[in-house]
């Protein structure tokens, strides 16, 4: 499946540091104090079901709670197989093939080409060869901060619920987040599928955090640690498509042409004189000029020359005086625009 790169710019990470043993997805579910059986990785410490994605239910915490002092070179890109997801919104009960991409990898990038031929678990590679181990965590929350929708892994290029031991993505036990598996090394992108919830969930936000691991000390004794890794975090709000035109979730409705005010007056006048047919015709003609304004199109509406004020300079002066007089500012004009991000 060819993923269409629609896309969403996500903030670059700010936090710092690393963790010793959270390279496997299962570690996020393991008990923090009780070691798992040896055949499940021995005594790596667990996170007790917590995967810090930056979501509100984790008080905004991300991987940076351990991977401290990150240099902040990397970025995140989120892709979808359906380009309308990010600019028009999500459809209810629809399955999306998503991809999280670690951009501008820096740490251990020289060892990425080795792929899985690294580490101590592969005797033919001895002496020890550095691994490029990266990771991510993502969850999708509704407006109330609760995880929503369902995740599945990808087998080949297709979404699949069948167990896939080779999958690069792990779905946590609570089915609320997706995390890397560490099955393979040198990975900078992770594919998974997400099925949206039913209609009415409103805007859903993807919370994502990515770690660019530096391979610890590059030795068999310390193949990974939280020191010196890079971290990026971000959020991607995705509107509900059905809500377009209904207000806050959507881009809104712009009346075409420059005579909207006049049209409203004509309709009101026709109703006042009980010319119902005329009122209906004018209303229909006017409403036909309504269009959905996509998030990326808000840039145009946000331009200064789109303001109603006839003299922007005079408007600016009045605003300045008001701010000086009241000791307050903001709350004027229209928001939005920019890069087309939601």
């Amino acid at each position: 499946m060819q993923l269409i790169r629609t896309i969403v710019a996500i903030a670059i990470a700010i936090a710092p540091m690393s963790a010793h043993a959270f390279v496997t997805g299962a570690a996020f579910d393991a008990d923090p104090l009780i070691p798992p059986p040896a055949d499940q990785g021995g005594y790596f410490p667990g996170a007790g079901g917590i995967a810090f994605t930056g979501a509100p239910r984790w008080s905004g915490h991300t991987c940076a709670v351990c991977h401290t002092n990150a240099p902040g070179h990397i970025g995140i890109r989120v892709e979808a197989d359906q380009p309308t997801l990010f600019d028009e919104g999500w459809d209810p009960k629809k399955q999306y093939h998503l991809r999280v991409v670690l951009e501008n990898e820096v740490e251990a990038v020289a060892f990425a080409a080795s792929g899985d031929s690294c580490g101590a678990q592969n005797p033919p590679t001895l002496p020890y060869k550095h691994c490029d181990t990266n990771g991510f965590a993502l969850e999708m929350d509704d407006g109330g901060g609760n995880p929503t929708g369902t995740f599945t892994t990808v087998t080949g290029a297709a979404c699949s619920t069948a167990p896939n031991p080779d999958a690069a993505v792990y779905i946590n036990a609570a089915k609320t987040a997706v995390i890397q598996t560490d099955t393979h090394k040198g990975i900078t992108s992770w594919d998974f599928c997400w099925t949206s919830p039913g209609a009415g969930a409103g805007t859903i936000t993807a919370y994502v955090a990515v770690v660019d691991g530096n391979g610890g000390l590059g030795t068999a004794d310390v193949p990974n640690d939280p020191i010196g890794d890079d971290v990026a975090t971000g959020t991607v709000p995705i509107a509900e498509k059905a809500a377009f035109g209904n207000g806050a979730d959507a881009g809104g409705c712009a009346v075409g042409g420059g005579d909207a005010g006049l049209a409203v007056v004509v309709v009101a006048a026709a109703l006042a004189f009980r010319r119902k047919h005329l009122a209906a015709v004018v209303a229909i003609a006017t409403l036909a000029g309504c269009v959905h304004v996509r998030p990326r199109q808000r840039e145009v509406l946000a331009r200064p020359n789109m303001k109603f004020a006839p003299d922007p300079s005079e408007d600016e002066l009045d605003l300045h005086m008001q701010e000086s007089r009241e000791g307050s500012s903001g709350g004027y004009g229209s928001s939005g625009g920019g890069c087309g991000c939601n």
């Binding site: 963790a19 010793h20 043993a21 104090l33 790596f44 410490p45 351990c66 004794d221």
Partner: protein, 149 residues
């Protein structure tokens, strides 16, 4: 005259004895801490940018993160907590229990949502409310619970 005044002054002095402050560890059960409270602290608080640092008033040792002795290998870092580390976690938590009612204890109060009285917790709200099972477990321990059941 001065000598007489000094003698009278010294006679007026009385011996003052320092009464030992009650040992807070005596009132709080370490066994209950290990089974009921420590898992919460390790799971919620032990991250390296949070309480998994020796510079924090509440210092929490945990596998894979802060260790009492700098680990030489990943195996050392990930090994289960030693008895000494678990006792240190206990004494660190007990340090917050001095002369306060359980509900005012910083372990409980600070990580509450602000609308419920939480304050100045850099890590934000950890408990959903005072009915949160984690809150309840720590509250019970501070109230003298000695049971792991």
């Amino acid at each position: 005259m001065r000598q007489l005044a000094l003698v009278i002054f010294l006679i007026g002095c009385t011996a003052v004895e320092n009464e030992p402050f009650p040992d807070p560890t005596a009132a709080l059960d370490e066994t209950a801490f290990r089974c009921k409270v420590e898992p919460i602290l390790v799971k919620q608080c032990s991250y390296l940018a949070c309480h998994g640092t020796g510079e924090s008033a509440l210092r929490v040792y945990s596998s894979g993160k802060l260790r009492a002795s700098p680990p030489a290998t990943n195996d050392d870092a990930n090994a289960p907590l030693t008895d000494a580390e678990r006792h240190a976690n206990f004494t660190s938590a007990v340090g917050f229990s001095v002369a306060t009612a359980p509900a005012d204890n910083w372990l409980l109060r600070k990580p509450l949502p602000a609308k419920l009285g939480g304050y100045e917790h850099k890590g934000g709200a950890i408990y959903a409310d005072t009915q949160d099972p984690q809150y309840a477990a720590i509250y019970a321990w501070l109230g003298g619970n000695k049971s792991c059941n």
